[in-house]
Subunit: 402 residues, 2 copies
């Protein structure tokens, strides 16, 4: 191993990762469990929606011409010839001149009617209804297929489905829906210094914070994380754990110990069993990132600092996940903010700076690297592209929220 990394640009690292992304797998889920999942095929309406002309108010179905000039002082007097029942279409109900029917919201508009008047603007006097408002042709009704026409593509593949989408899918006849299968991501923690949360760290030891953080983020992003545990910096144990994890996983993340020796061993193990494609990326934090492949499966070596691991997860691993999920655009929540202070940056590397955001103002959290507490005190990160020497106070910035 060389003492210095030969770094490549972030865009090249992303391209290398995307190139080895396993193909999208799909599965079918009940529509009420589809929100948050990525649609794996286009969805078209299987029927006209609505399937009939319907009222959108509780009131009376009328011929709009019969209400011309109607008002509080001069109501139109209409003969009520019946009631529209919900969930059925009574074809015997036909409205002639100066006639109307009671119609509930969602009821089928009877033949002859071309509008509905809200009950609030009417008064009953036996079978005679006083209509105190003029309604226009088409008022308070929806026409057949006003929402969607049969065959119309309602959603395209690649869409991350929302709760409302689930409603619309049900309306389109999807009791189940084909979505991208959740990529299974194995997480192996490496480093002689690491102990699990259950252990009180001894001298020189730290608890493994990265694995639960990575697993949680992956779960929220629509993946299925598999925590494989902690392996010491011993080549054989390391190789055994990778060999055990690989068959059940689509991608492996090696959540690195923080030392150079550990990273070098990680690269050595990947090179021994497969290929190292990238070792070193022009990104800060996150420079010692490794991208490789074993048995045609992507294997990432992430840096040891939690903040660095998180940045590499977002900037380099995520595009590969997006490809596996078939996402039409990344699902990173972002917000605009104004930068409170100058941020100097080193040209030639992409830099990510943690920021606190209050009332639309983003304040960079400088200070010692390697702290966990900045992860909790910050609301997100901002990206400074490689070609910039920094960002000026007062700039508009986009904060990637976490």
């Amino acid at each position: 191993m060389s003492r210095f990394l030969s770094v490549i640009a972030v865009a090249d690292a992303v391209a290398a990762a995307e190139k080895i992304a396993p193909a999208q797998k799909t599965e079918t889920v009940p529509v009420e469990q589809s929100a948050g999942r990525v649609l794996a095929g286009d969805i078209a309406a299987d029927v006209d929606i609505p399937g009939f002309d319907r009222s959108v108010v509780d009131g009376y179905a009328v011929r709009s011409a019969d209400t011309t000039g109607a008002g509080n002082s001069a109501p139109s007097l209409l003969q009520c010839i019946g009631r529209v029942a919900m969930g059925t279409h009574d074809t015997n109900l036909r409205i002639g001149t100066a006639e109307c029917t009671y119609i509930p919201t969602g009821g089928v508009l009877p033949e002859g009617a071309d509008a509905a008047v809200m009950v609030e603007y009417t008064e009953e006097a036996g079978d005679t209804i006083l209509v105190k408002k003029t309604v226009a042709h088409g008022e308070n009704i929806l026409l057949r297929d006003d929402d969607f026409k049969t065959g119309e593509v309602v959603f395209h593949a690649g869409r991350r489905l929302s709760p409302q989408d689930a409603g619309v899918l049900a309306a389109c006849g999807c009791a189940t829906v084909m979505v991208a299968k959740k990529p299974v991501i194995g997480i192996i923690s490496t480093g002689n210094e690491l102990v699990p949360a259950t252990i009180v760290p001894g001298p020189g030891q730290v608890r493994d914070a990265n694995a639960p953080m990575l697993a949680s983020w992956l779960r929220e992003y629509g993946c299925e994380p598999r925590l494989c545990g902690i392996v010491k910096d011993e080549r054989e144990a390391f190789e055994t754990m990778i060999a055990k994890a690989l068959p059940a996983c689509d991608v492996i993340l090696l959540s690195g110990g923080s030392s150079k020796d550990d990273r070098d061993m990680t690269a050595g193990v990947i090179a021994g069993k497969g290929t190292v494609l990238v070792h070193g990326v022009a990104i800060a934090p996150g420079k010692p990132t490794i991208i490789g492949q074993i048995n045609n499966k992507p294997v990432f070596g992430l840096p040891g600092h939690p903040a660095s691991a998180f940045v590499v997860l977002i900037a380099i691993v995520r595009p590969l996940l997006d490809k596996m999920l078939g996402l039409d655009h990344p699902m990173l929540p972002t917000m605009k903010a104004i930068l409170a202070e100058n941020i100097p940056s080193q040209r030639g590397r992409e830099e990510y700076v943690r920021v606190k955001v209050e009332k639309g103002v983003a304040t960079p959290l400088f200070g010692k690297s390697g702290l966990l507490n900045t992860l909790v005190k910050s609301q997100g990160i901002i990206r400074i592209p490689a070609g910039f020497e920094g960002l000026e106070k007062g700039s508009d910035v986009e904060v990637i929220l976490w």
Copy 2:
């Protein structure tokens, strides 16, 4: 039933809902499954984090005084007396004047050292290390408890946990964490016109879009939805289904048929088996909302239009869920935008208008009520408080994203 609803203000409806919120229940989950859950108690660090003075770089542990004046042309020459191993503390390693040790990132700082110099600024010549940069006292190291001190409260109850929080919790010794139990929310769909997604709607029928939409939103908000199915507008069947659903649920949502008859029957059934607290809220859409209680459990009657049901879910049901979850603040994602057009509104009722958001500009989606497609075409809703007659073009608005 009266022909007209006597409406109450949204704030009063919310207060009525919050008053009947069942108490928070708690459960313990593995830390890597805690993201998105609401913390049910304060969490303090059980140890100092880090537990020892450590290097944050790969390089050499030094006495900073020995590097004073060091530079490329005049390096300090230090004697390397050993290597710090990861995950242990070699108390025999002590650095004297003009001495140093190799130290990996995360290694325990040896006695005598007060700084670390990055390997990039050094050169090896046998046991002699050329240090080409001056480092200050404390540079490139973290001191014991720099992150968190033993006993320090790291997170307060009521926090919605993020992926990074899961990492910090693990560092604080939490392999598991106590969180609010997911409220179980039963959803009963009512209405003679409703059929499930699997059925092709006959004349006058529509597919039930609300139940999958509500269930999906509830799941994303941290609840456990239970779809109970569709019940026709028959009092006995309705009562039977409520009786069956109640024991297993904390809250029942009656996802209404759209007609007044159906809503009246809903209110009647609640009144018959329990109490109707609210029937009619000064909110648009969503006026015919019902809040009641059966066997001390909250029962909501939601309006039939999907958009109306959604608004009532956000504006009136959510505060009750927040209380059950013990949330310190609502989890509604929002964004600031500029309003593209005037929106007229009726004073005296709180109005919610769907908007499309592009490049920070929110354009109201007017048009026919009762359409599903506006749910999909809009990115969120904006709230117009009851005291306003509308919002002016160019106003700053907050969009509640969906």
